[in-house]
């Protein structure tokens, strides 16, 4: 079985984002970019499936600007076998919507015929939480979202999902799209020798046009604003003062 892992290049989760003064978006010039943390978990899971003899090949895909190469090299250094970069934007500030990403991924699935797609549950930049579900719909495949446990057993997979009420376990028919949640595994760090080796692994470069997919956004950005700031609070000296303040506010 081949496993396809879509990985997105996003602002590093430690970076404090700044909204651009003209309201057109968030400033991404010269900020640290990394692999979306959920996608690291997806790559890790794919590699573990390979190590367990359940997958033969792990293919990482990224759609976006040319610099997403770096993200793919990280996936290769972690242990993916090869990578596909689909250049669909010239500027980091142009993000590709999940629907367009899913359409491109659907074409890649047709070509590559993976038995499983492992995606992140959400990208931490736009927090859309949509791409995996959309890809699943376009392919008519089963979906197991927000996975915290995954067992692949021949023609089906058993997925434990993190849901509002607790945990839900379902059985999905293969081929399937699984989107991964935080507690599925702890991703490994790439070792220096593996980073070196990754430079020689194959990385194919394509464009959105190669797949005949129109990436024109359906959602126009009207404006991007800072959220309302909270008024400054106070430090209280002791528990008694805290209790008095809360009583004064009528919340306890």
């Amino acid at each position: 079985m081949k496993v396809l892992v879509p990985v997105k290049r996003v602002i590093d989760y430690n970076v404090k984002v700044r909204v651009k003064a003209d309201g057109s978006g968030v400033d991404l010039a010269n900020v640290k970019m990394s692999m979306n943390p959920f996608d690291e978990i997806a790559v890790e899971e794919a590699i573990r499936l390979k190590e367990a003899g359940k997958a033969e090949e792990v293919v990482a895909v990224s759609i976006g600007v040319k610099q997403a190469q770096e993200t793919l090299r990280t996936a290769l250094a972690m242990g993916a076998d090869r990578a596909i970069l689909v250049v669909a934007a010239d500027d980091v500030h142009t993000d590709i919507e999940p629907l367009a990403v899913a359409k491109i991924l659907a074409k890649i699935v047709e070509e590559e015929q993976p038995g499983l797609v492992l995606a992140g549950k959400q990208a931490i930049d736009n927090d859309m939480n949509a791409t995996g579900q959309m890809l699943s719909a376009l392919l008519g495949w089963s979906q197991g979202t927000f996975a915290s446990e995954l067992g692949v057993e021949g023609d089906h997979a058993v997925v434990t999902r993190e849901v509002d009420g607790g945990l839900q376990t379902i059985k999905v028919k293969m081929p399937a799209i699984i989107t991964v949640d935080l507690r599925l595994n702890e991703p490994r760090y790439a070792s220096l020798p593996n980073i070196m080796k990754a430079k020689k692994k194959p990385l194919d470069e394509k464009t959105a046009a190669d797949y005949g997919v129109d990436v024109t956004p359906r959602l126009a950005i009207v404006k991007t604003a800072e959220p309302e700031a909270r008024a400054a609070g106070e430090i209280v000296p002791d528990v008694d003062t805290l209790v008095a303040k809360l009583k004064e506010k009528g919340v306890v």
């Binding site: 984002v17 607790g166 379902i170 949640d181 959602l219 800072e226 959220p227």
Partner: protein, 308 residues
């Protein structure tokens, strides 16, 4: 124009709070038809018919719709979609599982976690863990939206909409439910509680977390946790508050032994009053707290329980 709203139905029961909050958001868009789907959903349909602002309720009961499996639920919604310009739901994990699938089947974008309605095609939504609010305008003929419940007040009850029973769509047969692991609790639900007490890594262990639970019970509060507390096994996953967990906005949020990472703040910074107890005066949580107490939680929390 008409709006189809997927109600939050769990094991045949309506989650009134989440559904009524989504109704408030949806009312601005047009006449609201609520869809209650499930293995059993008639009782949920009855309950939904009483929400103010609901024009009509559709009840679809079928074993294939039980446990809100995405493929069959999405197929049902798509079969009904022709009559509606907006297809919406509260942004629960169930809806986030289903709605993007619906959107892709209709060849439209999904608008996840909308926190504001500007007009019929323009919506606000938080991005980057709530560090920016983006206003987006959809050019799609149909809009598929999930609404962030913490930013809308629940619609009242007292209505009496008509209820119609409908059939399920053909079951794609792609997935099967095996089991749910749901911890029974007498505490209020995290996303609708008036008070939330959350513990972080500073609490130290699963046993110590009882201290957080005691404080919560004293206040009649729900219990929350940071990701670090969940990852360390101090608390179950459904207690996680934050960018990738639940978003809450209670009257009072008490953060104990939580540093205040942006991913945690994303889930609670719209709370009316925030109290932080942390022994590190530099902890970023104090920047959003209305009342900060720099103290060892193992002394402060028992004292608080005693004095409340």
């Amino acid at each position: 124009m008409a709006v189809l709203l997927l109600a939050e139905v769990t094991d045949g029961e309506l989650s009134l709070d989440a559904t009524a909050k989504a109704v408030t958001a949806a009312k601005a868009l047009g006449d609201v038809t609520v869809l209650c789907a499930g293995g059993s959903a008639a009782a949920a349909g009855e309950a939904a018919s009483k929400i103010d602002g609901v024009a009509k309720v559709l009840v679809a009961e079928d074993p294939s719709l039980g446990h809100r499996l995405a493929e069959s639920t999405a197929a049902l919604i798509v079969s009904l979609a022709g009559d509606y310009e907006h297809i919406v739901a509260p942004a629960t994990t169930d809806a986030k599982n289903v709605m993007p699938r619906v959107a892709a089947l209709l060849d439209v974008m999904v608008i996840s976690d909308a926190s504001g309605v500007v007009d019929g095609s323009t919506f606000e939504r938080p991005i980057y863990a709530g560090n920016a609010i983006q206003t987006v305008k959809s050019s799609d003929a149909k809009k598929v939206i999930t609404f962030r419940t913490s930013t809308f007040d629940a619609a009242g009850t007292g209505g009496s909409a008509s209820v119609e029973t409908i059939g399920a769509a053909a079951n794609p047969g792609l997935s099967e439910w095996i089991e749910d692991k749901v911890a029974a609790s007498d505490r209020p639900e995290l996303t609708s509680a008036g008070i939330v007490v959350s513990g972080g890594r500073g609490v130290g262990s699963e046993e110590n977390f009882e201290l957080i639970e005691k404080l919560a019970d004293k206040l009649g509060a729900a219990v929350g946790a940071s990701r670090a507390a969940v990852d360390s096994g101090f608390a179950p996953n459904d207690w996680q508050v934050g960018q990738t967990g639940k978003v809450v906005a209670p009257e009072l949020y008490v953060a104990v032994g939580i540093s205040g990472a942006i991913q945690h703040l994303a889930g609670m910074k719209d709370s009316k009053i925030i109290v932080a107890i942390n022994k590190d005066e530099e902890a970023p949580i104090f920047q959003v707290a209305d009342y900060g107490l720099v103290a060892d939680l193992f002394e402060a929390v028992p004292a608080l329980i005693e004095k409340l």
